[in-house]
Amino acid sequence: MSAVGTEVDTHDDHHHGPARGIGRWLFTTNHKDIGTLYLFFSLIMFLIGGSMALLIRAELFQPGLQLIEPGFFNQMTTLHGLIMVFGAVMPAFVGLANWMIPIMIGAPDMALPRMNNWSFWILPFAFAMLLSSLFMEGGAPNFGWTFYAPLSTTYAPPSVTYFVFGVHMMGISSIMGAINIIATITNMRAPGMTWMKLPLFVWTWLITAFLLLAVMPVLAGVVTMVLTDVHFGTSFFNAAGGGDPVLFQHVFWFFGHPEVYIMILPAFGIVSHIIPTFARKPLFGYASMVYATASIAVLSFTVWAHHMFTVGIPLAGELFFMYATMAIAVPTGVKVFNWMATMWRGSITFETPMLFALAFVVLFTIGGLSGLMLAIAPSDFQYHDTYFVVAHFHYVLVPGAVFGIMAGVYFWLPKWTGHVLDERAGRRHFWLSFIGVNLTFFPMHFIGLAGMPRRIPDYALQFADFNMVASIGAFLFGFSQLLFVWNVISNIRKGRQATDQVWEGAQGLEWELSSPPPYHSFSEPPKVN
């Protein structure tokens, strides 16, 4: 994306272009540059976290310990989770927000450009710190990305301290990103861009930003409690000192459940742009989409203990959290039905972004339905902490969040680079990913129901066959992502000139700018009618 807007606005000499050299990226306050930085950072993290997943799947290819020690296996599952959640998915969405929100609402840039630079540049340091723990005595964090106490306190390796500070830095970055997005959307909309005219990606991100503001401080709180339990003799989570290990889980999941929606709501927004574009028909039920997103966000604060059905919650508590969790299915269903109705009687074509968006709807729905099964507390006693759960959240996060991000990247890439997408290459990547992802995660439903616990480096023989299938699928999926890297890089380097509208059915301010857009766009606010 380095080709962005360098030659395009030479006619307008008071709009200076980007600085030259590395300084452009270090000191930039331009939302497009920062968006690009976030996206590349996220891509690198996706590849690192993915390599860890492949190591895990390689070990699980057959029963027995072949490649790695159980202790290192736990480090891999922990880092894989942390990197994918905080390093790949979240920064990718922030990158897309940086690129798209200002040009969707007709703003010249983000509201707080210097803070924008800072919130990005914290991240490489946070992850360098986290990853450096791999080389420390005692190894990297090995207590799972959910870091349940006391495994993460009394029984933790010394690197837990680096983990705590790393998470603090990621949290600061996310909070600043969220503040920036809220400030931009509330203050910098072009005249006439009223709330109920906001593009859905902007709406879903606004709601996501409020979720981030609400829960990242809770995460910061819980890691600080871990830190003081480890170093300063407190006993928040130590029963022997009057504390309670279950308190940890309540605080963690009060952050953790809204976090799940932080990772999916912006993808809902992206898909709500792509399906109307390629169905050549306006989005069905715009208002109900907005209300459904807001209801999901509000409900997400009331369901956290469904992650804890087996910790010994009283009957009334189990019932409350079961009902609240089931209730989330209603607004989620509304969204799926709206996408379905948007396709109905449209004039549909299947370019790469549309393929990813449709796979998103189908596979996310599968993940949503297994989520509904998990919400049923009595059956959850059998599903909890098995591969059924692993299958569920990977369906929501990989063909959910990750496919959503990839759909968005393919959708907007021609706008960013000015180069038409190579459809053949895009489709090849799509089909290999689609087959790979299902081959990896669908069998996990089966081994979970058959009784295989999650987070184990070795398993009983009856789980062997499906594990082998899952591992083959994982390698197919993993290596297919090299095609994604190739597609993105070759699109940046060359391609036919894209039109302003790029896609035949595309609607919105961002498609009225040139492709690529000028380095500084909408210095004069556009008129929205």
């Binding site: 159980p70 059956s379 009983a460």
Partner: protein, 377 residues
């Protein structure tokens, strides 16, 4: 694309012979208790409702994707809302959810009734084994995984119950209401036996409750379900469910054995006896952290080879084994092992792997220390 699929299928098939068992198990086991069957039925009900919803949604999408394609000459309509439809597809899911909630609530209420238990078993999770205490029968023992490490490291062929076998299973009577009280000695574990649909977390400092009535004698296997450290995969649970008379016979025999083991500490032991017993005890209880070679995994699990504690003052060594070390993973073994086992393992550590201190500790000496400690309370 077809070629890629064919390749994957061929690769998968080619690997099949390498797999020992060919069970393509895809669903929950209905189990052997009223509750496990109720949960199974509930699971299937919800599953089929989900399948129906999925078929409907995917069916409409497929229909649109096929018939409303631009390449078939479809021209886009421009409708973008329909209040009636939108209210309908909010209300119908609510109705379906209520239908799901009714049996779910009924089953949950049934599960939450631990009253009138006829047998109480205290289950305690340790890194990485389970302890079973029959509270009114004065019987108390540990259950360790019995799969040899050679099978795990692929130096021996894997047995039928690989990773799901233990030295002493939890023996239970059929048809009686059994209450489990669950707690932990260190980190959080989760005690799970799918066939009886009991999964309950074992949490240090707290006691959880669960219960079951098992209909059918048999061997039922489960595993720890909550990540509890590096050997989380290696702490299985095995239930040996027997007819009532057989259970009673087993119980009195086990009690007699326990009493006999208590006598071991009164006699004099030779170095060879202690070393032999010590190796056994060490490999079951200590090797998970300190490794079979005594090399440990520093800094979390220190090496015992040449360690100042193990080769230095014997009283300090005894103290750390008996009382554990606060703030670390080193537990107190005073209540976990018999005096004979403790004496043997300390003797073994002081003389194995080149730690040739020549020290020998008699079980009677340890027994005295243990009784002093309890007497002092």
């Amino acid at each position: 694309m077809a070629s890629a699929l064919a390749f994957v299928a061929a690769l998968a098939l080619a690997c099949m012979p390498a797999v020992v068992s060919g069970a393509w198990e895809v669903n929950l086991d209905p189990g052997v208790t009223e509750i496990s069957r109720a949960i199974f039925d509930l699971h299937m009900t919800i599953f089929w409702i989900c399948v129906a919803i999925a078929c409907l949604v995917f069916g409409v999408m497929l229909w649109a994707a096929y018939f409303h394609r631009k390449s078939r000459g479809a021209v886009a309509k421009h409708f973008h809302e329909n209040t009636f439809l939108e209210i309908l597809w909010t209300l119908i899911p609510i109705g379906i959810l209520v239908l799901m909630a009714v049996p779910a609530t009924a089953t949950l209420i049934k599960i939450y009734d631990p009253r009138d238990a006829e047998l109480d078993v205290l289950v305690t999770g340790y890194q990485w084994r389970w302890r079973y205490q029959y509270l009114d029968q004065e019987l108390d023992y540990f259950s360790n995984m019995s799969t040899p490490m050679e099978q795990v490291t692929n130096q021996a062929a894997k047995g039928e119950n690989y990773l799901l076998e233990v030295d002493r299973p939890l023996v239970l009577p059929v048809g009686k209401k059994i209450r489990f009280l669950l707690t932990s000695n260190d980190v959080i574990h989760s005690w799970w036996v799918p066939a009886i649909a009991v999964k309950q977390d074992a949490i240090p400092g707290f006691v959880n409750e669960a219960w079951t009535v098992i209909d059918k004698p048999g061997i039922y296997r489960g595993q720890c379900a909550e990540l509890c450290g590096q050997n989380h995969a290696f702490m299985p649970i095995v239930l040996d469910v027997r007819e009532e008379e057989e259970f009673a016979a087993w119980l009195s025999e086990a009690q007699a054995e326990a009493a006999a083991a208590g006598q071991e500490s009164t006699r004099e032991w030779t170095m060879d006896e202690l070393m032999a017993r010590g190796e056994e005890v060490y490999n079951t209880n200590c090797a998970a952290c300190h490794q079979v070679t005594g090399a440990g995994v520093p800094p979390v699990f220190p090496a015992l080879v040449g360690s100042p504690v193990v080769t230095g003052d014997i009283a300090a060594h005894e103290a750390i084994v008996l009382q554990g070390k606060a703030g670390t993973a080193m537990q107190s073994f005073a209540s976990q092992l018999s005096a004979a086992d403790l004496a043997a393992v300390i003797t073994y550590e002081r003389n194995a792997w080149g730690n040739n201190t020549g020290d020998l500790i008699q079980p009677s000496a340890i027994a005295e220390k243990l009784s002093n400690a309890t007497g002092g309370e």
